[in-house]
């Protein structure tokens, strides 16, 4: 973890065991069997994410960064190795609703209003009507959509839908957020605005975040650490500590900062060390 100053928010402790570690990935491999032979998506990956830490996974297409996130979310199971979330096996953590998740597609249910979409995880886990409405109001305010609770997703722009999806992922105040290129389909302007919003939200909630991206500036801007991955088979190439200060202190101005450019350069170098440079790499 970067050297945080005193104002780094402390996440609400939800688990007793392994209090300081949110995610622990040990010797994880994932092999997809196919007709044309087995494909090794991940090979012997080790990664530890501390509670409250923001870690980005970056790498060219096919480096297994999304696969790694899916293993942490228990949406997929490793062929070898173990994944623990707050000291528990990933499957237990999933059933305990220990994490919130957001994908590249907002994935809102089109027949539910914005508010009902945010309430969905709470509803499924038995929160009462009043409690749900109250929480939805807070979250709508947090993502700046207070006036849109009664709208249907189709009435919202892509960026607004993505904000709803982020609000939904935060509904149960998880101590871990998993995000798979949540801003990948957005235009650059919206993207930068939402990045800043995500920093603010993260500072307010103190959650640990595992963030998959293929944008170097995005990874540097948001993260405490950036995990650079290489493809075929997917491996951790290098882990860079960013050290741009606590999430709450990072403003838009940091994008113009010399330190920011240095870090962008460092990540770019680490990625270029991967031969050959994969397609789909976003070097902006």
């Amino acid at each position: 973890m970067s050297t945080p100053n005193e104002s780094t928010p402390v996440p609400a402790p939800t688990s007793t065991s392994g209090a300081a570690i949110a995610v622990e990935v040990t010797g994880v491999g994932r092999v997809f069997g196919g007709r044309s032979g087995a494909v090794t998506a991940l090979d012997n990956v080790d990664l530890t994410v501390a509670a409250g830490e923001f870690v980005s996974l970056i790498g060219p297409s096919g480096c297994g960064k999304s696969t790694l996130m899916r293993l942490i979310a228990d949406l997929d199971q490793p062929t070898s190795g173990t994944v623990t979330v707050f000291g528990k096996p990933a499957s237990v953590a999933r059933e305990n609703h220990d994490y919130g998740i957001a994908f590249q597609q907002a994935g809102l249910l089109p027949w539910r209003t914005v508010q009902a979409n945010i309430e969905l995880p709470l509803e499924l886990h038995g929160t009462g009507r009043a409690g749900r409405a109250e929480r939805a109001r807070e979250l709508l305010a947090l993502v700046g959509l207070s006036d849109f609770g009664g709208h249907l997703p189709s009435q919202l722009s892509g960026g607004m839908q993505q904000r709803v999806a982020i609000a939904r992922s935060l509904a149960e105040s998880p101590s871990l957020l998993l995000m798979d290129e949540p801003f990948g389909a957005l235009d650059e302007m919206t993207r930068e605005r939402l990045q800043t919003e995500l920093l603010r939200i993260r500072a307010e909630t103190g959650a640990a975040v595992v963030f998959v991206t293929h944008s170097i500036p995005e990874a540097v801007y948001l993260s405490d650490r950036v995990v650079v991955m290489s493809p075929r088979p997917g491996r951790v190439q290098q882990i860079l500590t960013i050290g741009l200060g606590a999430a709450g202190d990072r403003g838009e101005g940091i994008r113009e900062d010399v330190q920011f450019f240095d870090q962008v350069g460092a990540v770019r170098e680490a990625l270029h060390g991967i031969a050959p440079a994969g397609r789909g790499m976003d070097l902006r």
Partner: protein, 294 residues
């Protein structure tokens, strides 16, 4: 579903009326222009006969509908007899439709749940629709007559309802199966991340997502049920409905040609009412029709 502008709705009604008027005009025009005996080329009729027996004038049909069914003193007007027969056929078709929808739904859910069930059942579902109704009707009637539980007695109309349901379940099974499989991967991942099982995913995600596929299936099922009921009435010889009436009246065709058309219009009416009922169901499910699939 786009929001309907009032002008769009008026236009739709106008087009509908225009279509009917055009059809009537074509009928009368053909009758006026074509020779009574039709046109035959080398012994084969290429254009139908236009005599009064074959193609009565529209106003004759309308006039006949107002007159008594037959010469007996207790005879009701023809239009009433047709409406009563239509109501009878509609009831039987509705029961057949309901049974078909329930069966189709259950089949679709089982097929969605178990991959093996899908590969085992789906070919039979498709194959079932290739069995001719005429072959099926006597079988169903025969089996029904052997059924008896306690005070329950198999009524002849039940055979007709079963045959109607046999035609109705098919579009529902196929349509709902597609609808249940329509949620995107991201939605399924999300449900899994919420830690809910198959049943709750079915209820929260798959069923609502299947509505755009369900409604066209219900419409098809309604049309099939009406056709099935009318044809099955003929095949099983059930009295009281339109099927039997069509046969009876057409036998009196040469002496009273306009009469035979009345039950046909009755069948059209039953079909329209059935389609209307499905449209009403569609209105109650409006929220889920974010994308209509036909």
């Amino acid at each position: 579903m786009t929001s309907r502008r009032p002008s769009g709705r008026t236009r739709a009604i106008l087009t509908g009326v225009l279509g009917i008027v055009a059809l009537m005009a074509v009928w009368e025009l053909y009758k006026w222009l074509a020779p009574d005996g039709g046109v035959t080329v080398g012994g084969a009729t290429v254009l139908p006969r236009a005599s009064d027996t074959a193609m009565p004038h529209l106003w004759e049909m309308a006039e006949r509908a107002g007159q008594p069914v037959n010469r007996s003193s207790s005879a009701v007007p023809l239009w009433r007899a047709v409406l009563e027969a239509g109501a009878f056929s509609f009831r039987v078709a509705a029961i057949g439709w309901l049974v078909g929808v329930v069966v189709g739904f259950l089949l679709a859910i089982v097929m969605q749940r178990f991959r093996t069930a899908r590969s085992a059942v789906l070919p039979w579902v498709v194959l079932s629709q290739t069995v001719p109704l005429i072959a099926l009707a006597p079988l169903v009637k025969g089996w029904g007559n052997k059924l008896e539980f306690g005070s329950f007695q198999w009524e002849p109309w039940m055979s007709v309802a079963v045959i109607a349901s046999y035609l109705a379940f098919f579009p529902v099974a196929v349509g709902v199966l597609r609808g249940l499989g329509s949620p995107e991967a991201v939605h399924l991942d999300l449900m899994r991340s919420f830690g809910i099982g198959w049943w709750r995913t079915l209820w929260r995600l798959r069923l609502p997502a299947s509505v755009p596929y369900l409604l066209p299936a219900l419409r098809l099922a309604a049309a099939n049920a009406v056709v099935g009921a009318v044809v099955a009435e003929v095949s099983t010889g059930l009295k009281g409905g339109l099927g039997r009436m069509i046969i009876e009246f057409s036998q009196a065709g040469s002496s009273d040609p306009a009469k035979a058309w009345a039950p046909i219009f009755g069948a059209v009416l039953v079909g329209l009412v059935a389609a209307g009922v499905v449209a009403l169901i569609g209105l109650t499910l409006r929220r889920y029709r974010y994308a209509e699939v036909s």
